[in-house]
């Protein structure tokens, strides 16, 4: 199961173009930031669109409020890596799925403490490769440096890593095999990286789908039978 976990679609009318390109690339689904009706939309051929929220709140109280407001309406909750305080809270909170690294800001980096917290709660590091496609030369080397350092820290802490496109246009989508080559550039030498990444994504999506069902109450607690059934 190959899903691009971060596609920035601004207008719903762009969705068919992205879906067509994703199918050409051999992807099975896209996680989109655009406002779609349901957390998951399944097409006739099995292709899926997942609703994703990227929370860019600047303060911790605002971020906490937003996470609790939005969690039951989206499949993926992502928090960009900015301040250590926000990153550590997000890494430790099971409602946050991804800590995002875009490679644009100089202040972005993953700390060892954050990586350890994330590894224990199952939060994954998301590396957006859009900055590698749009930049060239020194600007790209700066992004590669940020990515390689953070990936090394995540790997040593046992934090799962996900590579996403961060695509703003359909041509920014990449096939799973092209992603594997880009992953190697970023210091991921695991030959089974794509399989492991697919497994992490599949597990994350199936867990979240269960959490979004009406029968889910809390971790380990679900309604299995109702008297009226």
């Amino acid at each position: 199961m190959h899903v691009d976990m971060n596609v920035n679609i601004t207008k719903p009318e762009q969705i068919p173009h992205f879906v067509k390109m994703a199918k050409n690339m051999g992807l099975d689904g896209l996680a989109v930031t655009c406002n779609i009706d349901k957390p998951v939309i399944t097409f006739e051929d099995g292709f899926r669109l997942y609703k994703r929220a990227c929370l860019k709140q600047a303060t911790l109280p605002a971020l906490k409020t937003r996470v609790s407001q939005i969690r039951r309406f989206v499949m993926i909750v992502a928090v960009p890596l900015r301040s250590v305080q926000l990153a550590n809270w997000a890494a430790d909170d099971a409602r946050v799925d991804l800590l995002t690294l875009s490679g644009i800001s100089k202040e972005e980096s993953l700390k060892s403490s954050t990586a350890r917290l994330a590894a224990s709660s199952g939060t994954a590091l998301e590396v957006q490769m859009a900055s590698l496609l749009t930049n060239f030369g020194l600007d790209r080397s700066r992004a590669i440096k940020t990515f390689r350092e953070s990936i090394r820290i995540a790997q040593s802490a046992g934090m799962p890593i996900i590579l996403s496109s961060g695509a703003k246009s359909p041509m920014m989508l990449r096939s799973p095999r092209a992603m594997l080559h880009i992953a190697r550039l970023l210091g991921i030498d695991d030959p089974d990286f794509m399989e492991n990444m697919s497994h992490t994504i599949e597990k994350m999506l199936s867990q979240n789908q269960r959490k979004l069902s009406n029968d889910y109450i809390a971790p380990g607690m679900e309604i299995v039978w109702r008297p009226d059934q």
Partner: protein, 102 residues
């Protein structure tokens, strides 16, 4: 002395914009290869576009086996060539051109 092994890669270049000709595509892949990995890798790669159909974007490239990974990484990071947005998709790799054409 053992000769260096070649690798052939069948690929498809998706595009949004005017077609890219063979020479322009080869230049862009080499430029990206040079920027990412340096002159030694470009020299050792012996990268060459064996076939390329600019209308449908399909083609075959050849390179040295040892630099295959570098060449495919450089090609995968192509995004904009002149005014055309592109996405490179490697399809099949083989040691002979006959096998890669199948």
């Amino acid at each position: 002395m053992r000769t260096e092994r070649k690798r052939y890669v069948r690929f498809r270049l998706f595009r949004d914009g005017p077609p890219i000709n063979e020479k322009r595509l080869a230049i862009e892949i080499r430029r990206n290869l040079l920027s990412l990995f340096g002159e030694i890798i470009v020299a050792d790669s012996k990268f060459f576009l064996t076939q390329y159909d600019e209308t449908n974007g399909t083609g075959i490239l050849q390179c040295n086996e040892k630099t295959l990974e570098h060449v495919l990484t450089a090609a995968s990071l192509l995004y904009k060539i002149d005014d055309t947005l592109v996405s490179f998709k490697p399809i099949k790799t083989s040691g002979t051109i006959k096998a890669v054409q199948k």
